[in-house]
């Protein structure tokens, strides 16, 4: 082989050099071993002392959560300092003694404290785990006197969420709470740790990213007794941004107080911009109950309440729009040219279809009814006839055009879409074809058709502004901690409804007469000097078998929902208002007076009271 001679020459040399390499290698390794000997055996005790006395703790610097303000700058949610007792899992030495010493003065059971300590073990050992929040001053002074005896315990001042308005706007604001294991597992919750607080519902949840701010940290050197010796490195937190709502909390408060009924919802929008002027859901609750955390007993009471006080009805309550929907049916019939405005139908108090009787609310009948009278007196028979001419799919087309059947995007969590039924939907869902009788119920806003109060408000706003479907907004501005505006609301028109202005003007005059006409169903909303457009509705909760009973003889849960929509658009300050009173009876009787009070207050005029019949 050609390279064999070279290899042999090379071999002579490499033998020697490999030996030298081995000697050098051993030398190097010996130097390392010697240094190790020096560090560990000669200086070992000194270093051991240092390692005992010299520890580094990583403290998280929590940013101050942004506030929530109303449009006038009134504070709706802010932070107040509170004392928190935490444990540092890595420094905890005698958990049993700690429990014995602290559980009684903190007023928590030893088991609960043991659980907390157990849970803290899954955390990085230099982190803090809170075991008692919102301590009273007595507890703080008791703990302080014992702090020096125990290691691994830490008293910290942490901000506590405070809601000065208590139940004012409670559903919109939402609550904060301790992060759950499920939330922790989500990728979007990176940077959160067990024991952290975050928004759970409402604005607090939806705008968590803005409100929270950015966390900082601080690396501190501490001695054996836990005293801070020096700060080694630090990143300052960035405080959260303030969220400014579109709502005037004084007006909101007024609306909440006017709403004397047990359950229901009120939504008021600026029909030109989509800004929410008021959003009420009843019953409500005191937000401060949840800060820092609600007691089990209170939680059970709230959660098991049959009226669901925790639910935001404005975005999550589903109601049949009832007769308020007749406006849409009317517009659909005009636009689809199935009637002329003058076309009259005869109302005999009921309509028979396929052997079934469909009643009008007025058992004596309205006689000959045209579009105007149909709306003003809310004649059911008239709209049954329109429904038959339109069929279900043309009605649902206009319902969808007015924004029903899909969330409005108001920016509150878990908004429900409602339901706009079509014949295809029925086939898909029930495997059955659409029946004519069902068309009749949908034409008067009953049956499968359901919508949320905010959808009804968007529909009312669209009637007021000439057919623009707006994206409603509850947030007007977001201002970062450094004062820069990071969000500023500008109106978003989601789409324009293709509609003849002449048809809209017909509806307009009819809706004015609902209030102004002596036979109008909404006459209790009459305010001298203000051109109020309105439509009443009475939403049936159960199928009516007989109509002999008086309202107050019917059990609460079988009473009808009172509905009322109204708008004023001939003044610089406009409003679209909807009211739903659950089991409140007739819309004209119980919802219209509320609307009158709200509108009178909005325009700063005295409440004229109910007109004499």
């Amino acid at each position: 082989m050609a390279e064999l001679p070279t290899r042999e020459h090379f071999r002579d040399r490499i033998d020697l050099r490999v030996r030298i390499a081995i000697i050098l290698m051993t030398l190097f390794m010996s130097v390392l071993a010697a240094k190790l000997w020096h560090l560990q055996l000669i200086q070992g005790d000194a270093y051991n002392e240092k390692s005992d006395s010299n520890r580094v703790r990583l403290a998280r610097l929590t940013p101050t959560r942004g506030r929530i303000l109303d449009v006038k700058g009134r504070v709706l949610a802010e932070n107040t300092p509170s004392f928190v007792l935490s444990i540092v899992p890595g420094e905890l030495e005698k958990p049993a003694e700690l429990i014995q010493a602290y559980a009684p003065i903190l007023g928590i059971t030893p088991e609960r404290m043991r659980n907390s300590i157990e849970r803290s073990r899954s955390l990085p050992k230099y982190m803090h785990y809170p075991i008692k929040k919102n301590m009273s001053l007595e507890e703080v002074s008791l703990v302080r006197s014992r702090m020096s005896e125990s290691r691994g315990v830490l008293l910290e001042v942490k901000p506590l969420r405070l809601y000065p308005g208590q139940d004012n706007l409670c559903h919109v604001m939402g609550i904060t709470g301790e992060i759950s294991q499920d939330e922790l597992a989500k990728a979007s919750r990176v940077g959160y740790q067990t024991g952290d607080y975050l928004g759970k519902t409402g604005i607090e949840k939806e705008y968590e990213g803005y409100l929270r701010g950015e966390e900082g940290w601080e690396q501190v050197e501490i001695d054996a007794k836990g005293r801070t010796l020096a700060t080694m490195a630090r990143k300052l937190p960035k405080n959260g941004a303030d969220v400014i709502l579109t709502v005037d909390s004084a007006f909101q408060r007024f609306v909440e107080e006017v709403f004397i009924h047990r359950a229901g919802s009120v939504v008021a929008l600026d029909p030109d911009t989509g800004r929410v002027l008021a959003m009420v859901s009843k019953p409500g609750f005191d937000l401060n109950l949840f800060s820092p955390s609600i007691s089990e007993r209170q939680w059970k009471t709230l959660n098991s309440d049959a009226l669901h006080p925790l639910e935001n009805r404005a975005t999550r309550g589903l109601y049949s729009p009832a007769s308020t929907f007749k406006v849409i049916t009317a517009l659909a019939a005009l636009s689809e040219k199935v009637i002329t405005p003058d076309k009259k139908f005869v109302c005999k108090g009921q309509l028979e279809l396929g052997g079934q009787v469909f009643r009008c609310w007025n058992p004596y009948g309205h006689g000959k009814v045209d579009l105007h009278r149909g709306l003003v007196e809310s004649c059911d028979t008239y709209f049954y006839e329109l429904g038959l001419k339109l069929g279900p799919d043309r009605i649902s087309k206009y319902a969808s055009l007015f924004g029903m059947g899909a969330p409005t995007g108001v920016g509150l969590p878990q908004e429900l879409p409602g339901l706009v039924p079509t014949s295809a939907w029925k086939m898909r869902t029930y495997g059955d074809s659409w029946k004519d009788g069902e068309t009749l119920t949908v034409a008067i806003g009953q049956g499968y058709l359901v919508c949320t109060p905010i959808q009804l408000a968007v529909m009312t706003a669209a009637l007021s502004n000439g057919g623009k479907v707006l994206k409603p907004s509850i947030v007007s501005q977001i201002v970062a901690a450094d004062g820069t505006t990071v969000f500023n609301h500008s109106p978003v028109v989601r789409w324009d409804i293709p509609v003849d202005p002449y048809h809209l003007s017909l509806l307009d005059s009819a809706l004015v007469d609902v209030v102004a006409d002596k036979r109008g169903t909404g006459k209790r909303c009459r305010i001298p000097g203000i051109r109020v457009h309105a439509k009443t509705g009475t939403s049936q909760v159960i199928r009516v078998k007989q109509r002999t009973k008086e309202e107050d003889q019917i059990p609460y849960h079988e009473r009808t929902h009172a509905m009322f929509i109204a708008y004023v658009n001939d003044r610089p300050q406009k409003i679209a208002l909807i009211i739903i009173v659950e089991h409140g009876g007739g819309g004209g009787a119980s919802a219209a007076p509320l609307a009158r009070k709200i509108l009178a207050r909005y325009y700063g005029v005295p409440d004229p009271g109910d007109p004499e019949d």
Binding site: T6, M29, L32, G44, S51
Partner: protein, 375 residues
Amino acid sequence: MQQMGYKLNQPSLVVKELPLLCLAAILAGIGLMLIYSATSPMGDAGRTYVIKQVTWCSFGLVLMSIFLLFDYHVLERWAVWIYIIVVVALIAVWGVGKVTAGSRRWIELGLMRFQPSEFAKLAMVIVLAKYFQNRAGREGSQLGEIVQALMLTAVPFCLVLIQPDLGTAGVIVLISLSVIVFVVANKKILLWAGGVFLGLLPIVLLVGDRLLLDYQKRRLLTFLNPDYDPLGAGYHIIQSQIAIGSGGILGKGFLKGTQNQLMFLPVKHTDFIFSILAEEWGFIGCMVVLLLFTILFFRGFGIAGKSKDNFGAILAFGCTALLFWHVVVNVGMVMGLLPVVGVPLVFLSYGGSSLLVSFLAVAILVNVSMRRYSY
């Protein structure tokens, strides 16, 4: 050309090198244990590091076994390509690389992240073995050849240096110089080189001052005086020395190191893993690990001396040098003997690329050894 068969020429020789393979596996196992301890203060998040390292370990073992099926001369045929691929990868780091701690070192390939600079060290050994196999005569290589070899080294060295990764660049140079000095250069050139080195040292120091980046300079400075920057790199040395020193003879015990458990030392599972070993297992534990490494190096150099051809000898010597310099630079750095430059401890530090390279280096040693009687 010798046979390049895919068959094992002398299966019994694999058995003979079994201790070396076991040594690698034991070291990797110790590494896993240390990483577990080092990441345990992170709570649940720390577990993913251990799981990842276990994955890399198994991948390394499989890769090692596959490599043993081939004659190591396959590396000779592919040497130039391996070198080119590594250089391209080092350039590609600039285009698609990930930045960590102010430095571009990573390439993402599907689920895995590679650090081409780690593989550059191995590629350097292979290409030098190829280059010198026929040039290493009785008189040793001449100056011109050595300059060419240094130029081959300069390309990956510069590419790694600008990442910037001073430690890895330094190790590449150390490996090349070891091969040149101990295997191929003749005596005269060595004496000359020694003289020139001593003469140029002051100039290098002056230029280095201009060339090094701020954090690198700071690291070098803190090496000279650890109290210079208590919040920066000097902090690492002080804390690392406290950890090592406080370990004493027997150590504080597994998962009981207070420096480890309470301290916020971001790179302790990678570059400072030795301080965990020292704190929790003490002088005895450290000596066991250093002894294991020393046995590994003995065996490596022995294989280099007994190899059947020049290529195998240089390859084995280079791989041993690679492992050796990592241990010296890393352990020296952790104990405060050398500047904190960021070199992993082979087999022990967390990191897939480094672990793969360690396994491959051992696989090359075994491969050279088990084929030394086959012609």
